[in-house]
């Protein structure tokens, strides 16, 4: 195992975060805080509880998940896209590092960044609303699994994208709508049929539901199914990455 190689990629990616602190950390924390102020403190105070949870507290897991998904994808996709764009990818490809080590470096750094961000949002939320975490271990497990899975997904997008526009298409056009419609701001039980059934085809529903269960012990779908779906998506992403390196898709000619 080339530990120095993994560390080099990881450190390099983390160094980029410190260089772009405003964009990487401050900006997402600020925008999520605005959600808490508007939906949590202002509008939320005039709304009833959902499943016995105040509206401000109810949206915390969904908002963290929204940031976690979008930041994991954007960090990992940019991390691998930029070396392709600038040509510095030659060095990674010619180094004695395996597929696993490359992915560990890039995805590890992207997941770390988004987990730090998730924790910062959680701390920030405390300034606006009260919340509790009933299952802290599972909260952490869902946080780590989701960050890893979506960082891998971001890595795939970064390999696939051949221009900056494509880099933004999936997070903005797919992930954000799926998160908004995946129960971030409401319980899917509030939806009438057939929309409730249709929503179950949205994979983000399971992530938010499982995460919310870790906070408050209530969920839209069974937590086992949520965990299973998260692991399934992780497996799909791992398979995608394995295929990319096996075929050299958009990395090697």
């Amino acid at each position: 195992m080339n530990w120095y190689g993994i560390r080099a990629i990881y450190k390099f990616e983390m160094a980029r975060t410190w260089r772009t602190l405003m964009q990487s950390i401050a900006s997402p924390v600020l925008s999520t805080s605005l959600y808490f102020i508007v939906f949590g403190a202002a509008i939320g105070s005039r709304m009833g509880d959902i499943d016995g949870i105040s509206y401000g507290a109810f949206i915390i897991p969904g908002l963290i998940m929204l940031s976690l998904l979008s930041e994991s994808i954007s960090n990992a996709s940019f991390g691998i896209f930029f070396p392709k764009f600038s040509g510095t990818i030659y060095e990674v490809l010619s180094a004695p590092v395996s597929t696993f080590e490359i992915v560990a470096g890039y995805v590890g750094a992207a997941a770390t960044k988004s987990m730090v961000l998730g924790c910062l949002i959680l701390i920030t939320a405390r300034f606006f609303v009260d919340y509790e975490i009933v299952h802290p271990f599972w909260m952490l497990a869902f946080l780590v699994l989701t960050a890893l899975t979506f960082s891998m997904f971001g890595f795939i997008i970064g390999v696939w994208a051949d221009d900056f526009q494509k880099l933004q298409v999936i997070p903005l056009m797919v992930i954000t709508p799926l998160t908004f419609l995946g129960g971030a701001f409401y319980s899917i039980d509030m939806l009438p049929e057939p929309w409730r059934t249709v929503t179950l085809f949205n994979p983000v529903v399971y992530l938010i539901s499982g995460f919310r269960w870790a906070f408050y012990g209530v969920a839209d779908v069974n937590v086992g199914i949520s965990l299973g779906m998260t692991l399934l998506f992780l497996l799909l992403c791992m398979t995608g990455i394995w295929w990319i390196f096996r075929t050299g898709y958009r990395i090697k000619t």
Partner: protein, 321 residues
Amino acid sequence: MEPIISVKGLGKTYAGGFTALKNVDLEIRRGEIFALLGPNGAGKTTLISIVCGIVNPSGGSIHAAGHDILRDFRQARSEIGLVPQELATDSFESVWATVNFSRGLFGKAPNPAYIEKLLRQLSLWEKKDSKIMALSGGMKRRVMIAKALSHEPSILFLDEPTAGVDVELRQDMWEMVRGLRESGVTIILTTHYIEEAEEMADRVGVINRGELVLVEDKNTLMQKMGEKELSLHLPEPLPGVPETLADLPLTLSDDGSQLVYRFDIKSSDTGIAELLRRLNEASIDFRDLHTRESSLEEIFVGLVRGARSESEEQLTKEAQE
């Protein structure tokens, strides 16, 4: 001695159907400077990229320092450093950070003393904290070399190392390459500057249309394939080559003041004595004469043209059949 790089039957056909390399066999000796020459699109960069692991081969095998580049990729790649043609750098990183990144990527423990020595050798020490985007083109090129040498490789690939650099820096680079060779590093360089190969290489390989046309010791090549020119400076310009000398391989300079005679240095009879006798008979005097050997560039152009006309002949023959 076992070659440090051994390429056997290497082929590369890209997805679009373009064949970049055809059954290439090549051996690089330990400690030599090997120059790979070839026109644009000949397959030089593809060959280097395959050895370094950037491009997948379609067929054949490659061993670097005794390791198969696919099966034992870790051992093989840790022996190789690459300076690519393009100035691909992390613009926002400092020189120190990017060189240390490269060392780590190649699996080596941090060694600040070695990196300092390397940066000093490449006159980069004063710039170690500068961001790469703030450096000149020449400095960036040095950073690329520092990155390639950061893990102490025994094989160094230089793909067009002096493309776009000024004369002074080019001389410095040549000096540095010689220094590396003296320290035991094997160097393989591709270049468009034939004088670069002529100046530095121990052996020369010529690649054209994906085929290795020849591999030869540089001096032997120049001796074997070189033509010599004898130039006669005339006191009075001539309007043309005199008819009495028309059967000789003579040309007249544009201003008519020089007669140039080409001869084969391998031949036992160069024809010089005959030329001088006939000049005397024709009462053509000359005030000075000098000889010049053909350069590697002329040999290279001759080889590439020869290969091209051979393949065109082959195509015509096939079309006729």
